[in-house]
Symmetry: C2
Subunit: 380 residues, 2 copies
């Protein structure tokens, strides 16, 4: 608006002002709708990509990025990088205080740079590596509870124009929302790590009671996920496999030491008791409301594909899929580690043994996947 | 705006339109700033109260509430209820489909009721119970991923006015934000419950190995929190007490059965081994990054206030506060439950025994708090 307030504006000017205001309302409404997208804290990457896509639209920008501060390294890394060279950019880390983004992170203030070539703070390191040409930048700090946790930026206003003050205000508001989404996702992911690492630590202590099974559950998780990742990309499903695997032997807490650590072969009676460990594991999991649905995965991890396993002699597809996965992973670790009654076999022999028992002890499809994945990952 | 589009508006009308648009911008900006408040998923009650306070301001409403749907009971309960009669309202549950709120929950559509007395859906049950007089209601569904999880409403536009369509649009946008905050908080709280209930279930299995300590860790948590809640309202601090208490004996996983379950008195050697359990507990916790800071609370729960405890013979305030709290809680449970070598003593005797050893074995301040709280809570 170029008319000073003191002059009564003419009709044309008023029309243009109304049009300006309408435009502003449209943008504000888009911004509010954008924040509706912040609907989950689980798929943060996907979420932020959608948000930045909308941000680019509102800001009429050619590209955009979100950076997170790494406190330990005192630098910034990309969480999202959209635009032509986004993929290349993601590899790069920006030192604290360096360039526009580093400056915003260090000072916790937004920065509008209409022409980067005229700004001393401009560093150009990312452009050099990505062959992208930045003309103008609008960068805002992501602040949570007074602390800068990252930076969001949009690059190059479309149509060779510059970002202006209105853009800055709008993007700063969006920055606040992004900051919250990023922080919420971190809190959730920290708690998730705490949950998994805690049960893992306790289970490892149970494994360690028997020197022969030290580290067993952790390895079974790795093997089970190797199969799982080849079957699905569904995060919930993979989490289910991970938690079921880590807890499959937790019931060994209930097995007396003299059976668990016995150097020689077990008597029939001892073996019967030992074979109750899936039931004990299931009994520990069952009362936990959110894990109840995993009980069957754990209870049946010693069933055999031919129905000759325990505790219920379930056969084939009647055995829950995750239980069949754990069965393969569990057996492979048992074969390839020392046991009181025999020395460990080689990886190669282990894989062959799985194949030999495919269709009898193991689900043939899962053996195939495991062997393929294991070789592909060059773990062998 | 009363002028049809085809007529060229006069200057006065244009002025009023500009003023309308400015007002709308002001409200949209407030809404965007409101959403900045959504900064944490931990203090959801506090957060929603602040948000609704701002919502009342923007909507010029006398009161406001947020309801959550209880899927099991097929009814709605208040999460927040602001306004004169908020406290009274919070006790009430609204059946699904009943009244304005029930209608919005059932149909998943917003509802603008300028005069409740003229609307057939109006039920009035909450007014009756709270002696509040509702004139007009604006209620929007809280929808997450296509599913109605609750309802937000504002009541009685100030100055005896009615809510209008503009209010509805604005409040619907805010509703989307509230929905996300409520959902995020639920996801976080579910995961937190999963974490606590999982370690609790595993620890209970460890306790159960020795029939004399069945349920021990759970009771120690209750006793320790009884002391903790009298000392602080800081949620983080209380969580720290809870997690430290639940894990204080987890190291007993490492104690052989023959010592743990021995019916008679332990030999000196066995006792030495038994007394290493705080070290074993600490060793399990220490590698877990987010629990590392609790290690000392667990390691020192058998220190005595007079310095004659183990493992390090720390004295007085040198013993971490939480370790001193667990010490009192742990001893009280040991005294009041059966042991292989003696029968359990009464609650009264237990409290007296704590007092008798106050200043020698126990921190006198904590004994005082525990005895007071225990009697106050009529657990005795």
């Amino acid at each position: 608006m170029r008319t000073p307030r003191s002059l009564a504006p003419g009709k044309e000017l008023m029309k243009s002002r109304i049009s300006d205001l309408r435009h502003k309302i449209k943008r504000l409404e888009t911004l509010i709708n954008t924040s509706m997208v912040f609907s989950g804290i689980l798929d943060i990457d996907e979420l932020l990509d959608t948000v930045m896509q909308q941000a680019e639209e509102v800001m009429e920008a050619e590209a955009s990025s979100i950076f997170r501060i790494d406190e330990k390294n005192q630098d910034l890394y990309f969480i999202t990088a959209r635009g032509e060279k986004g993929k290349e950019a993601k590899e790069i880390r920006v030192p604290m205080g360096k360039g526009i983004v580093g400056w915003v992170a260090k000072h916790g203030k937004p920065l509008l740079v209409p022409d980067v070539r005229k700004d001393k703070r401009w560093f150009g390191g990312v452009d050099e590596k990505t062959k992208w040409v930045t003309r103008s930048i609008l960068a805002v700090p992501l602040i949570v509870k007074g602390k800068v946790i990252g930076v969001a930026e949009v690059l190059n206003k479309r149509g060779n124009r510059h970002f202006d003050k209105g853009d800055l205000e709008l993007f700063a508001a969006l920055g606040n929302q992004i900051a919250i989404a990023v922080e919420n996702a971190s809190l959730y992911s920290d708690l998730d790590k705490l949950f998994l690492s805690s049960i893992r630590a306790i289970v490892e202590a149970v494994d360690a009671k028997d020197p022969y099974t030290r580290g067993h559950s952790g390895r079974v998780v790795d093997y089970a996920l190797l199969i799982g990742q080849a079957m699905t990309r569904d995060k919930e499903r993979l989490k289910e496999i991970e938690i079921s695997s880590i807890l499959h032997d937790v019931g060994k807490i209930g097995i007396p030491d003299r059976i668990l650590g016995k150097p020689g072969r077990l008597t029939r009676r001892e073996r019967n008791y030992m074979e109750r460990h899936p039931e004990f594991s299931a009994a520990i999991i069952e009362p936990i409301e959110m894990l109840k649905k995993l009980t069957a995965n754990i209870l049946h991890h010693h069933e055999r594909y031919d129905g000759k396993g325990y505790p219920e002699g379930l056969k084939g597809k009647k055995i829950p899929l995750v239980a069949r996965v754990i069965c393969v992973a569990d057996a492979f670790d048992a074969i390839t580690t020392d046991r009181p009654y025999r020395r460990r076999k080689s990886i190669r022999t282990g894989l062959r043994e799985l194949q030999r028992n495919s269709g009898t002890q193991f689900d043939p499809r899962l053996v195939k996947i495991f062997v393929t994945q294991f070789k592909k990952n060059e773990l062998s």
